[in-house]
Symmetry: C3
Subunit: 235 residues, 3 copies
């Protein structure tokens, strides 16, 4: 997904790494939701490929890469199998999974922006699609699992911001015509490090001002319950 | 989105007004759901542009207008900022917001039908896509917020019917080859006024016959709780 | 949707039967969710046409068949009307509805695979899209109704497996160039019978291994409550 910037084999390997870790996050949620083995596979596929699929439909790259590259399709199935058999072990290395997920976030926001621009979209739209590539799969995962997308929730560490920064850096590089392998790697790294810092220091984005005046305050629920459920619990 | 019917600048201004008010409704829901500032921006974008995006994907107009027109993309961000800082004030003028939303509904159902027909769809499909253009963003908004789409709920004032009427009027005008600026404005106004009347007199659509025989009756909840939650509350 | 395998009129009739029974399942869920008449119609349309729509967007067949064939569009409306007036009677013949739904599952997984292959996708991707054609509408139905997709839930009789078997049989036939009317009918029948057996003997797919170590066990709820709700009930 990073045309002409890395060598094709390096680029493809990076894509597959990103797809694999995104699929792990989908499969883990499926286990937590008590889904069966097919539910785990579906959620792994959707999480890993959903963002790129959305981008490809928007830019008219049909059939999308998710359906033409067998590696893209098969990789999430391996992730699903791994989680199916070893999910307690995978849960235990959640820290490592988060690091890889941050790497996937960095790779996908940059690759998505680059591909959208290559298909003729303007810089603003390309950056927006880069963001969508990086976070779209996770949103679809949460929608299918009938949860409030963690992307939208205030009580989650920053996820959109690192992707926005990475995508905007690529847009700026494209504007000044300085997008090279080096600057691309720099944008990927920036998004990656920013996400790790957000995880480490629990950076969060502000909610609307004057919230208390109209919205019932809810206690934070360490068990990962949805906002709606929290509100019910306090009602 | 109304090719050749209004002058381009008038047409574009009307589009932006519709996009703005739809974005307001998305941003307000995001605040009520306690989302952070990025969640507010995402829900504003999705609500404002989702219906047109769906239509453009179906008719093959890629990349969709939402990604080629910078005004379309930036307008929801302004709405999100406004709601972020001033949501108590915006909530207070909910009546005015509803009037503008009704205007957006009228504009979008007519514009969607016209554009679909211009891309070669038959009249039935064009009217269906006109409806989808008008209500699709709101459905996506509710799905992302993990709520039952208000479009589908019986305890909401008529929303689909005005859009259906507007879209079908355009289809009839197209069939008899009498679609002019005047008749277009007439269809927009009809949908607009119908929606205002539905709001004013709380018109609702019937639910299935003989419901009581199989479905538990639930009290109406003035606080906007979902159907599922109401059922839980009475269980 | 089965190009050149059955005679066009036979093929079209089979498509409409599949669309009709899928629409019935959508309309029945809408009634159970207490939606109004438009909600019933929307859920009928989405359930019946959603899977094929997704496939057509992926393979670039725009506008999708759902919007070019008036029969495809009107059939779900008849199903919605039927359920609107007679849903207690339709609920009572749920067994017959399930048999037709199984037939729809078999027809759609085979037709989806065939059409995707005709548009140039590889065999793996074609089979995946065949599965998506068959189950996509049901997933969209559940997402719009704000329920955990029954496709993903462990406490539902096998639904994905029959569709996977049918789609993979077609892929194998295509690989060996032996896809005829006869082998097509065989694949449809295999998926159909497999689904009926799953319903009859309550076959279910396994959940992740070692589940008990990390996931709270929940009692099975015969009333069709969602997983999340069950967890809340036991909490």
């Amino acid at each position: 997904m990073l045309p002409q910037l890395f060598s094709p084999s390096v680029q493809h390997t990076l894509d597959l790494v990103g797809i694999f870790v995104f699929a792990i996050s989908g499969a883990l949620l499926a286990v937590r939701k008590n889904f069966d083995v097919f539910g785990i596979a579906v959620l792994a596929e959707v999480t890993a490929l959903g963002g790129g699929l959305f981008r490809d439909l928007i830019i008219g790259a049909v059939p999308p890469a998710a359906f033409t590259d067998k590696g893209y399709f098969v990789t999430p199935l391996f992730a699903a199998l791994l989680v199916f058999f070893l999910h307690p072990q995978v849960e235990r290395i959640q820290g490592a999974v988060n690091v890889f997920d941050a790497a996937g976030l960095g790779l996908f926001c940059v690759a998505g922006t680059t591909k959208a621009y290559a298909y003729g979209l303007n810089l603003t739209a390309s950056a927006a699609l880069g963001l969508a590539t990086a976070v779209g799969g996770g949103v679809l995962r949460d929608v299918l699992a009938n949860e409030v997308p963690s992307l939208l929730r205030w009580d989650r560490d920053l996820y959109a911001v690192p992707a926005i920064v990475g995508a905007c850096m690529v847009a700026v590089f494209l504007h000044y015509d300085v997008l090279t392998t080096f600057t691309t790697a720099f944008a990927v790294t920036a998004a990656f490090v920013l996400r790790l810092l957000a995880l480490r220091f629990h950076w969060r984005a502000p909610r609307a001002w004057n919230r208390r005046s109209t919205v019932r305050e809810v206690p934070e629920d360490g068990l990962g319950g949805g906002v709606a459920e929290q509100e019910k619990a306090t009602a």
